[in-house]
Amino acid sequence: MSVQAWTFLLVGASFALYIGIAIWSRASTTKEFYVAGGGVSPLANGMATAADWMSAASFISMAGIISFTGYDGSVYLMGWTGGYVLLALLLAPYLRKYGAFTVPDFVGDRYYSQLARIVAVVCAIFVSFTYVAGQMRGVGIVFGRFLEVDVNVGVGIGMAIVFFYAVLGGMKGITYTQVAQYCVLIFAFMVPAIFLSLMITGTPIPQFGLGGVEQASGLPLLERLNGLNQELGFAPYTSGTKSTFDIFFITAALMAGTAGLPHVIIRFYTVPRVRDARISVGWALLFISLLYTTAPAVAVFARTNLINSVQDVPYASVPEWFTKWEDTGLLSFNDANGDGRIQYVGPDSPMTNELTVDRDIMVLANPEIANLPAWVIGLVAAGGLAAALSTAAGLLLVISSAVSHDLLKRSIMPQITEKQELLAARIAAGAAVLVAGYFGMHPPGFVAQVVAFAFGLAASSFFPAIILGIFSKRTTREGAILGMVSGITFTAGYIIYFNFVNPDANSAANWWFGISPEGIGTLGMLLNFAVTIAVSRVTPEPPAQVQVLVDLIRVPRGAGEAHELNM
């Protein structure tokens, strides 16, 4: 069977599975729609969280970024996993005890303020939409390359699937679909990694292969790649080029951002008890770490393979995958010196680089570069789609609940019935799918910067507000609102200035203390903490019932199920 036939078969089968699950798990109450009825087992929730979290960025882009940046790519590995430690220790158990439906629910109630609630709603919607745009680009790439359908048609199909199970099943449908999607995506990521590890290092376990010996040369793989990189004028793979200070700040921003992302936090409202929320974060990170410890190995295998198969090869004899990716515009060759051969070299080389490779294609092209069987290539396509769709669905739910629950039920129209609220939630989810689809068909040209924006924003707004809300009873409404506003304004201002207002100045020489816009969320977060604590000291302490509330969320007993609150 051809690659395309396998791709159609595997993508089609996985889509049929998701639709089947959606029909089986329809939601009939707001509680089922928002938090899957609060009865999800910790293991299933861990798996669903892993799929929710691992997006097109983790599946498609991350290994590619690491492949091209080596050690510098560590910020994503540490940042996107270390955040789960913060989530487990500082947020998930307490938010589960509190037992709300959404993140703005907690912020609004803890800070006894509609304004705080609205600030949180705006942040949640903004963060989620920027994220969805990134997922849609992933869907478009997979469809465009493997199914050779028009990108718009591809995005349309993806949207129809998400529409079906998110609107019908809400969190309940999403949860069980995500469990299936985790299985599809991890299988799709591991199979080629195991094949490659066997081919290159003779070890089936990629994590060991990465620290092993390259069979062809008999040298340690990483040492060999460092040598290849330097020979071609790139920085050594294992040391990177970013400053230590910047790496530190970016990692911290990604960690705090991860812990503050609303679509991840709400997953821990779906389990029955506080202790389930704790262990569930552990399961989630265990499932995530399977992919995250494999990705650096895939990155090294991909880079070694890429260099070996294109460097100094005559253009006339390039393999088929090369021309196919050229057609998508994500790979291009420009014969600068006219010798008819491909020179792939780095900034320190005396020669001119002739090959441009979009880092998003490395994971997808890897199996073809390594000549793996056709079914493996189809599997990777299905895995990429599972990763993009599962995350998109989780984000759409955050948007829908922010509108129907936080904005309508808790702010504007508190008198609506549960049935009306459920209908509003479905309409909001449907509208969000359409907006996301629009972004997918007309992707903003700055997806990468926008995603950095989302993390910086989550780190500098929600993260300090929630932590202080739990750990400091003295934190007041005024402190939290001013803290969130100053954190966001500072972070957004810095990112917008360097990416959109004055992009020419976007270099280490002009950055404050050498902190890149990706890492500025850390400074924004510290500012938020400082402002919140300072203002809280000089404003009247929170009302007695709020202090009682804080006491109650600190002890597990009496969590019961997630439920509706009446202020």
Binding site: V85, L210, S239, A252, P296, L552, R557, G558, G560
Partner: protein, 109 residues
């Protein structure tokens, strides 16, 4: 405003006015903070210290039995394993603490 636990089933929900309970909860919280402090020190050391601040220095060594430069290994492998272990240790410590202070939850509702 009603507090969230008022909606819950279960007769033995904590009374926040009883001074004995208040003291017990305060001690529980103090122990919790101490655990968090210990675990977060490890969290910081495996990632920020070994994987970032001293990564270059550690790269002079390899992880025994492999060909990984040590700093690189912490940044791309070791820190992640440590994070997973940290969470499971936390779960174990907290479940024991909940039981000790009689604030644990009953069977799944």
């Amino acid at each position: 405003m009603t507090n969230p636990t008022e909606h819950n089933h279960g007769e033995d929900r904590p009374s926040v006015t009883n001074p004995e309970t208040v003291a017990r909860h305060a001690e529980y919280w103090r122990r919790n903070i101490r655990y968090l402090g210990m675990l977060l020190v490890v969290w910081f050391v495996v990632s920020y210290v070994c994987g970032i601040l001293f990564a270059d220095a550690l790269n002079a060594f390899t992880l025994p039995g492999t060909h990984f430069p040590l700093g690189f290994w912490f940044a791309q492998q070791g820190s992640i394993y440590a994070f997973v272990i940290l969470i499971f240790v936390y779960v174990k410590l907290m479940n024991r603490l909940d039981h000790e202070f009689d604030v644990d939850e009953g069977a799944s509702s």
